[in-house]
Symmetry: C2
């Protein structure tokens, strides 16, 4: 016996994708010092915090400067003022019942979607859509649920549900028994959405098969069309089978400010191996109170201001701005004769690479011929090969310039 590393970490396929992108771009710029490269690959917001948020942030910092109003440790689950604002504005206003006590404030949906697997048993079978946000996969690799990967990066112990052109990006219910199902809708990276009816099939499946849906709704604010659920709890019966993750990152520009939340409904019970039922909310509460100490108080006040009328007006304006970029991207791709998906209810546009080109070949072509950088779809999983992601998170000016260049290419 001696100290050893967690060997599951050694099974991780190094995700070279973003470093490989950077290497290629730097190389290109060295050879072409006058090149005016436009980056359309990064899923990060560019517009500043709303002024309502900034004002609330400043006042809370001022509170921390005075003994009478100073706040030390807050509740690990978040302050009631924020949990109540979320319950009222994100849920009750849509007719969805979520109580403040079911809402756990955190510093990021990445943390929560990465940590949630901890409260489940080691032997649970994990299903992910493919392509997929890598955190769902990698956190389960680290926990020992995924086994080794093959050369395409596919882990033997995970169930992959392909979402491609062939099935209209609608994930098919798995044929094998799965226990934990990660769904992200509107989807990163494909930019596609599920209708309420399509999502209801998954909820029914989970109810019938005794599995749990881990629903990442980080992009719900980008939904433009009716009939697309903003919350999985809009679907009947979801409270007994689904955890929901939300974030202030993409709706209010909090990627550098850090605030998110996770909803674990009271009704959600999961058995132990003896069949005794346990409240998942209590388990998550135990995890958070033991390993987390709450979000910065001024950040929670800043997040609360997202729900003021002024805050709501401002975030709507930002989302409209990004979605106008998405519209321009879609129109330009159309006129360039490229097939694409998404970009209607999400800030991501998923391009089918032209015949005979794989994701990286298309990347090289765009970089060399249009000086535009995107993300090769193969970086998001085996079924991402042959696709390419562009994002609407950029200035209008840069988006227009990038798309003018792409429109001039011939495919």
């Amino acid at each position: 016996m001696m100290v050893t590393v967690n060997e599951n970490y050694l099974l991780l396929k190094s995700s070279y994708i973003f470093s490989e992108i950077n290497r290629k771009v730097e190389d290109f710029q060295r050879k072409n010092p006058d090149a005016d490269v436009i980056r359309m690959g990064i899923g990060d917001v560019t517009r500043p915090l709303p002024s309502a948020v900034v004002d609330a942030f400043h006042s809370a910092v001022d509170e921390m400067a005075q003994e009478e109003t100073f706040r030390g440790y807050g509740p690990e689950q978040g302050y009631p003022f924020l949990r109540e604002a979320i319950a009222e504005n994100d849920y009750a206003s849509r007719g969805v019942e979520v109580s403040p006590e079911e809402i756990f404030i955190s510093d990021g949906a990445k943390c929560d979607t990465g940590n949630i697997q901890e409260i489940f048993g080691q032997d649970n079978v994990v299903a992910v859509t493919d392509p997929v946000y890598p955190v769902y996969v990698e956190s389960n690799v680290m926990a020992g649920r995924a086994g080794p990967a093959d050369e395409t990066g596919r882990y033997s112990g995970l169930v992959y549900i392909p979402c491609t052109e062939e099935n209209g990006f609608i994930p098919a219910l798995p044929e094998e028994k799965v226990d934990l199902i990660y769904l992200c809708y509107p989807n990163n990276p494909t930019g596609t959405a599920l209708t309420e009816k399509q999502l209801a099939e998954w909820v029914d499946y989970a109810r019938d098969s005794g599995s749990i849906i881990l629903f990442d709704a980080a992009y719900e604010a980008y939904i433009q069309e009716d009939g697309i659920p903003h919350s999985i709890y809009e679907v009947e019966g979801a409270r007994e089978v689904a955890v929901e993750f939300r974030s202030f990152s993409k709706n209010a520009g909090f990627t550098g400010t850090r605030c998110a939340f996770t909803v674990v409904p009271e009704e959600l019970e999961v058995p132990d191996s003896q069949g005794r039922m346990h409240s998942l909310k209590e388990l998550w509460n135990r995890r958070q109170t033991t390993k987390f100490n709450g979000v910065s108080y001024p950040v929670q006040r800043a997040a609360e201001a997202v729900y003021t009328p002024e805050g709501q007006r401002e975030i709507r304006e930002s989302i409209d701005y990004y979605m106008e970029n998405a519209r321009i991207i879609r129109e330009s791709l159309e006129s360039a004769g490229l097939r694409y998906y998404g970009g209607v209810n999400a800030p991501y546009i998923w391009i089918k690479t032209p015949e005979g080109m794989d994701s990286w070949q298309f990347f090289d072509m765009l970089l060399n011929e249009a000086e535009v950088v995107g993300t090769p779809g193969s970086g998001f999983g085996p079924s991402g090969e042959g696709y390419f992601r562009l994002t609407a998170f950029n200035s209008l000016k840069n988006t227009v310039r990038a798309m003018e260049r792409i429109s001039e290419l011939s495919f």
Copy 2:
């Protein structure tokens, strides 16, 4: 096969201590509505953020309000400006070599000390001092390294190292082989410290036995005496065997603002079961980049300001304030004829309960006869029975009043 909970969570002994304290205090106040209860039990700061910190916090919030200076996702490991300020001011200034790349910024030492065990193998034997900060124990229970607990709360799979009056609160080197050793000095809850020579014995032990020390230095700013190491890296050879945790919570009042950091030296290598060595820094980097998204940018700027001359002057002032409280507590306990420890290099005073009284009986007596609330030592582990913790985190006025009352009691 079906979805199941992580059954290790079911082994956790519910820590009722703080809720039990609250229940007893509420009960007492209901029966004694005019009682003027003074709380001396909570390890949370009371003084506001330093003005240098507040100014930097405000400017960074202003940066987030302008498109030109807005920051989205930052590096998961923290911004170079903060990592460099720490390397320079906390380490180089003491002649200790720690590079910025070895410093990982986080939102709390609770998170880091809770998460660090993830990167080690499942079979590693964990040693903790007793009494102990519960997070070290509970995070390992959740991970399945602790086994079941007996009725005193002692987990069968952990190695407990008693720190009591009998051994002068100096932990003895374990006789069995242990792999991971949690040490917190200056210590919570006992308030005692280790000299450089005493700590060097642990470093030598770890080097000889191939174990790793997880060193929690959250209270280093309270050290008043020479010869007490502020960092474990002041001890020769520690870079090859120790991870160090630090926090802005207790030195700069960040308990509600949230910023901390963990140092993982380049030299720290841990084998897999085949004997191949792996960089622990790379494993921690992989953990953090996968499951964490960095600390709020304005909070990192606020933390950076702790290292300005004005910031340093202000935090010194706060620490002196709390340590004057500690001095008053010590003097009053002395005149009351109570034996106590700590309070010299730490904000905690560890009282030996008078003959024939256990921790909870002493709690009841102080509450009923002095209207003062502290923390029963038994809440920190089996060897905490017969002890009681008071903290120096209070106003001078309340500290003086509380101690006047205690001085009048007869033991």
